[in-house]
Symmetry: C2
Subunit: 454 residues, 2 copies
């Protein structure tokens, strides 16, 4: 244990490989199935949407994947990201615990999303793709992809959920600064969008509709592919650089975590931080507890069913075995937009089923309270998503105070809240509430799962 506030790595020590947890699991995750045939999908099924390099990473059994030099060059703009010891928060809590947070808000777009965006833009550019399409809700993913595409001269076209487009115009502008074209979704540009608008010209949109629009545009245009910001194996793979760096940084100060907390929406932030530590645990090098923190309003791991379901609302994607609340389940309007996903990454779900990680759910008000306490001590105003992990860390640190335990707690502060001040404003104004587990709504959504046997 050193007396540093933040632990930095030199660029020379930045990891040059991503880590593929699948190689070390006692059994492989179940296959992804074609929505029509219900047979495992092959590369050709995915080729209209993704470049071959990423399809290869999606199913690779290699333990490590080299990070190409052109990606490392761009990572160096903000990586290695700092690991902080939350000394001022510890003092506020009067805890003997030592709290460390790995901060991904230093990336250009302000979150961990940039780690995979740069990789995806690179592999697409390498295979001659001229345009990438994607959807974005709160805007974190869309802005990360816009930045990444600008680095490789790839065009970027984003469908931003209408409600978010209107409420958070600054995320749209940020995408435009990086040269992207942004449409409010539903849009007149696609068949999917037009059909929604025909029924409801004032539709506020949804992530499901925006995905449909982006997929439709990619599938129908030459030299155009689609890009997804979480859930898939290759996305989690790219995010493991977070955990690889954190391992080196903790080693630098002689620490081993006793528990890791991370927020989970699609699972890429949490997987990125925790998988390298899980590898070390499987190898007997630590005995860390790894705990996913999800919102009470959308608790796919703690309350969802582990079964095959679609990745999108409309049911266009391949079928993935995952923890799901039902593909047409619409979560309550919590401000952590990045955690409002009906499913959980298949790999994360599999690891949870294997008993290698745990999960808890947190309600909104406790999370905002934690976010404010964090901001007032550590300075950084967290995005609503990581306040879930911060809330869990605070709870653990207070347990340590009661028990007099010097635990080492690690978490991922996956993004800053500079574009989420409207949420904090509503919190201070008393306009926010808790949303408990919506049992009935989930039960209904689960009756609409795809009907087949594997």
């Amino acid at each position: 244990m050193s007396d540093l506030t933040k632990v930095l790595l030199d660029e020379a020590d930045m990891p040059t490989q991503w880590y593929n947890l699948v190689a070390d699991l006692p059994q492989p995750p179940p296959p992804v199935l074609h929505p029509g045939t219900h047979q495992p999908v092959g590369p050709d099924d995915l080729a209209p949407l993704f470049p071959m390099a990423l399809i290869g990473q999606e199913v690779t059994a290699e333990r490590h994947v080299d990070i190409p030099g052109a990606i490392l060059d761009i990572y160096r703009l903000w990586r290695p990201s700092p690991l902080y010891r939350a000394r001022r928060l510890e003092r506020l809590l009067d805890t003997p615990a030592r709290i460390y947070y790995k901060y991904e808000g230093v990336s250009p777009a302000g979150s961990h999303k940039t780690n995979t965006a740069v990789a995806q833009a690179y592999y697409n550019a390498e295979e001659g793709v001229r345009k990438l399409t994607s959807e974005t809700g709160a805007g974190q993913w869309g802005s990360a992809l816009a930045f990444a595409c600008a680095q490789f001269g790839v065009e970027c076209e984003i469908w931003q959920v209408r409600a978010s487009y209107d409420q958070k115009p600054y995320r749209k502008t940020m995408m435009e600064v990086w040269g992207a074209t942004v449409h409010p979704s539903p849009s007149e540009v696609t068949e999917a969008g037009r059909s929604v608008l025909a029924k409801d010209s004032a539709s506020p949109g949804s992530l499901g509709i925006a995905i449909s629009e982006a997929v439709e545009m990619a599938a129908g245009a030459p030299d155009t592919k689609y890009s997804l910001g979480s859930v898939l194996n290759h996305v989690l793979l790219h995010q493991t650089i977070i955990g690889e760096e954190a391992l080196l940084q903790l080693a630098k100060v002689g620490e081993t975590p006793d528990v890791i907390y991370g927020c989970t929406g699609g699972g890429s932030n949490f997987g990125g931080l925790s998988f390298p530590f899980l590898r070390e645990k499987l190898a007997g090098n630590n005995d860390v507890r790894i705990v996913a923190v999800e919102p009470s309003a959308c608790p796919s791991l703690t309350r969802g069913r582990y079964t095959y379901d679609y990745g999108d609302t409309a049911g266009l994607t391949p079928l993935m075995k995952m923890h799901t609340l039902g593909h047409d389940f619409i979560p309550d309007p919590i401000h952590a937009g990045g955690l409002r996903y009906h499913g959980m990454s298949p790999l994360m779900s599999h690891v949870y089923e294997l008993g290698l990680i745990e999960a808890v759910a947190k309600n909104q008000m406790e999370c905002f309270d934690a976010g404010v306490r964090f901001a007032r001590t550590e300075g950084i105003v967290p995005a609503p998503e990581p306040t879930h992990a911060v809330a869990a860390c605070i709870e653990e640190a207070l347990r340590c105070r009661e028990a007099g335990e010097e635990k080492v707690i690690l978490t991922a502060l996956c993004g800053h809240g500079h574009f989420d001040m409207g949420a904090y404003d509503r919190y201070f104004a008393g306009d926010l509430t808790d949303y408990d587990y919506p049992e009935e709504k989930v039960d209904q959504a689960l009756t609409r799962l795809p009907d087949f046997e594997v």
Copy 2:
């Protein structure tokens, strides 16, 4: 020259002293005068507004001032700040020049302002001050002070210019996250505010009015003092940690700057970066050109008169000898709100008169164009203020391309533009224009200078 993208310093190497340029100047700056007596002000004149420690720093002749440990503890949340080599921008410009930028946007409030805010909050807290008041225009300074006050348990009350309060509500929310109270200015809380509202209930406010309100509240209340974010000697002193770090970082990669560009409003960002390099120049250790970059709409150094004038619009402050466009000059509405100040810090003005620094003016459109080019290559979206320095760097780098010169260019990227996306949005929409030097308006304002002889 190394192949690093960013040059980091360990916490152990963070400077522990601020640097006072006055100690090394061939002649001292002219004294500040009492507005009533026109005699040099003494500590007692300033005591109602500032704590004695800061008054001491304002006039100290010591070359170095130790940074107290409690301030260093907080600096460590983001300091040492990174020094970047703008490799991707260089490549875009196809220049043999090497461009380095010192990035202060990593601070909690997103700009260099936090360096002095923490120091000011500390010294006030040490002397038992329970509340600090201040004004803010764009919100950078107000949010920095709010953060700093939260660290020392000092109350913080901010008057935010009404137009900005309405247009940039997120800055207000950020101040509230850190526990500050924010009033739109003019407000009903002060005599100064009420008298403006009596004449115009819809007044959009001005920095001058907001200063009057904050000063009135501080002067009239026990245990309450006032805090200023630029212009004064002690503010520039606190900012020198930027340049001290940059000196160490450039030395680490074996570089010496040939030219330094920095944007200037009140002068603290530019002074902070350049004064340590100017010390080395005076000692014969480099031959750097130091160039202030100001907006064409508000060019106090290049076009203002060097004379005694008030620091505020209403004429309540002591008289300072400085470059001024006239204390009631209202600049055109450029988006670089932090550069819209009628005067220039007395110390910076003095250094300019001594011929130790140069100055140029840049118009708004060139600056936004430079900001977008910077964002698309380096990733960071700059605040409108530092785009002025970026524009000057780009011009210099292109000159180097023409001349085939391998110059080393250094600049200060004093803040990110996460709260300035509205300005970029207007730029893309074609709603922004240039504003040339407003000769007639300045000539008129200069007729209203305080009428006396020294």
